[in-house]
């Protein structure tokens, strides 16, 4: 769900999203705020995700989106990943 190193390109993103969906079949993002400056957007979310074993993690997430030509060119995600690891560990 979160990676230390950036992924580049649609195919890498597809692989991430597929792995994400397989490992965390239930995900919900509750948007709490959004700010826009030029071609950059920052959003705050409450992310709730459930593992295939039924364990749930909840964490606050901040994402920064760079937009170019009407599409997402980059996303950077900031969050404390401890709740995800705890849910995976059971």
């Amino acid at each position: 769900m979160f990676k230390d190193e950036p992924l580049h390109g649609r195919e890498a993103l597809r692989a991430l999203l597929e792995a994400d969906k397989a490992g965390w079949p239930e995900q919900r993002n509750e948007e709490r705020s959004a700010i826009v400056q030029g071609d950059a957007v920052a959003t705050e979310h409450r992310l709730t995700a459930t593992t295939t074993a039924g364990r749930t993690a909840a964490l606050d997430v901040l994402r920064i989106w760079d937009v170019a030509d009407g599409r997402i060119a980059a996303i950077r995600t900031y969050a404390d990943t401890a709740p995800l690891l705890e849910a995976l560990a059971g």
């Binding site: 705020s33 700010i35 826009v36 400056q37 950059a40 920052a42 705050e44 964490l59 606050d60 997430v61 901040l62 920064i64 950077r76 900031y78 969050a79 404390d80 990943t81 401890a82 690891l85």
Partner: protein
């Protein structure tokens, strides 16, 4: 009095510079009297300038050669964010390096709310406790 984006961008730079210097009065001058300061991995927020003084005094004491550089600041009305690169050493000389992001709610030209989005897993790994 309304304050624009340039004012709040400067406030962010002033805040990081004050934290780097360990200048607690200058740090606290960036916050409203009733400011709320949250860290993503701490369950309870720090509320009010006096509580913030104790919080930042602890931060200054535990970390030396602290350097925080805002790599990008976005401001939209009374909200903003700053991405930052943080380097420091623990009291026993262990190097720390984080890339965090702060979210801000501004009021009266100051920080009314700050939320630090950082990863406790990365921090504990670098501290050798996780």
């Amino acid at each position: 009095m309304s304050h624009g984006a340039a004012h709040y961008e400067q406030l962010v730079h002033d805040y990081f510079a004050a934290v780097e210097r360990g200048d607690l009065d200058a740090v606290l001058a960036c916050f409203t009297e009733d400011a709320v300061f949250r860290v993503s991995y701490n369950p309870e927020p720090v509320v009010g300038r006096e509580a913030l003084r104790g919080f930042f005094a602890g931060v200054v004491e535990r970390m030396r050669n602290r350097r925080e550089v805002a790599t990008r600041i976005l401001v939209d009305g009374d909200r903003g964010i700053s991405e930052l690169v943080f380097d420091a050493e623990t009291a026993d000389g262990r190097p720390l390096h984080f890339e965090n992001c702060n979210a801000y709610v501004f009021r009266d030209g100051l920080f009314a709310e700050v939320t630090v989005y950082g990863d406790s897993v990365t921090m504990k790994r670098q501290l050798g406790v996780g």
